[in-house]
Amino acid sequence: MNKTIEYKKKGVPRTKKILSKIAIYFLVILVLLIFFIPIYWILTTSLKSSADVFQYSWFFKPTISNYKEVLNKGNFKHCYMNSSLIAILSTLLSIIIGFPTAYALSRFNIKGKDNLAFWILSLRMIPPIVVALPFFIIYIKLGLYDSLMGMILVYVAFNLPFVIWMLRGFIEEIPKEIEEAALVDGCSHKDIIFRVTLPLSMTGISATATLCFIFIWNEFLFALTLTGVGRRTVTVAVYNFIGFTEILWGQMSAASLLVSIPIIIFGILVRKYLVSGLTLGAIKE
């Protein structure tokens, strides 16, 4: 592609070409700066002592005291544990329930299959706020309020549509012929799923699971309304750094980063699937 463009541009004076290149890089860097500055701001604030927070100087003595204080608050570590447990268990359960459904939706000949798939998709559009209240009332009645079980149940429900649609897309990418060959060789349906489909869709499953983990870890509204002190998650814990009288900016920034780091790592790992994940497979990269 470059060759043709360079060939075309032979007539254009060299200086003009260089200038346009500089302009492009300048714009790219400007865009990146705008999107990165807020994150940079929170990074530096987290490393500033409380006296330095209100200073704009680019040079300051970095300190990890904010991180120490956040981690020494037993509460935060507890919330971190809660979030990890809730996110891991909900993701596992979503995949276990979602995989057979995804398999059936892509491989079986069922009447009304597409309608069922669209019904499942439409559930993803329900705004959490619409069901937060009934969940709250029902959970209080059933004693599920502020419980590990309650949070897992709600997160599985709200991530199943995503998991089913993603896995369905991945399974459809596996050539049917491989499964049919195994069937001819005398494998049972169960064998095919466990020995052929499952191993072949492992990449898809890991990508889906990672995205699912990210969604659950990041979730705020259900965590805010359905947990109390016992099963508070990290997102609510970070939010609680907004105090009634003052905001501890340094500690809040440190906590924000601690909450974001696993998500940033996971996000980079699955960045190839991010777009198709967020559009439920409607757009593939």
């Binding site: 069922i110 499942i120 559930l123 209240l133 009934p134």
Partner: protein, 285 residues
Amino acid sequence: MRGRRKEIGLFLGPAVIYLILFTIYPTIYTWYISFRNYSFGENFFVGLNNYRLLIFSDKVFLVSLYNTFFYVVLAVTVEFVLGLAIAMLFNQDLKGKNTALILLMLPMIIPPVVSALTFLMMYDPTLGLPSHLLKVLFSTQGPCWLTDPRWAKLAVISIDVWQWTPFMVLIFLAGLQYISPTIVEAAKVDGANTLQNFFYITLPLLKKIIIIAIIFRTMDAFKAFESIFVTTRGGPGYNTQTMNIYNYLISFNYLKFGKAAALSIIILFMIILFATYLARFLRSE
């Protein structure tokens, strides 16, 4: 035949039952309490009274409705325009493009609570960058972005724009890959200028992807919660109060469960209208 039915039930059953129990049932329950005057201590049938009060005699509801549409339309429009522009900028051979894309991806994967808190800091009149820049460059005092009625709406929407423009960029970059450079070259040979190229080649070829991107963004912008709740909680006055925030406040601050449920059903109704359109569109593609 019987065995096959059993098999289908085994594959689809768990997910379908789960989704009915945990998404359909709570929705029906919301519908049920929307006809009741339900709070701690009182619970009796009032018919359509909650709906009547909301629609005909609640000014805050109308303000929230307006704010919601303002938020969704402005945020999605700005994200679309910026996203397309940035995608076009990035759609060429650049050094360090992968790193740049990872940096650009960060705003949309970090927890929304963290982005909201980051901007709570950025828009702080003594602590944030915008006010600092105004002071240094123009030596004027910046406004209190989040508590000034003239700025609050835009400030809150800018958080959404910061978070989700990268989503548009990634989607459009994926789409631009499929536009073969030879078409553009051919048009250039035929004498089309850059602007004509953009409007008569790039835009029509991207049409499907643009529609998908806007649909998904609109759907999610309707769910926006953290960006407002964490920064302004709907204030100053009702300036940034969207239907989601209003719903949260009626449910968990004023504890008027019946009224909140009625509002939930109204929100849900609007989402269903939108989803029907979406399903029709996706099927036609």
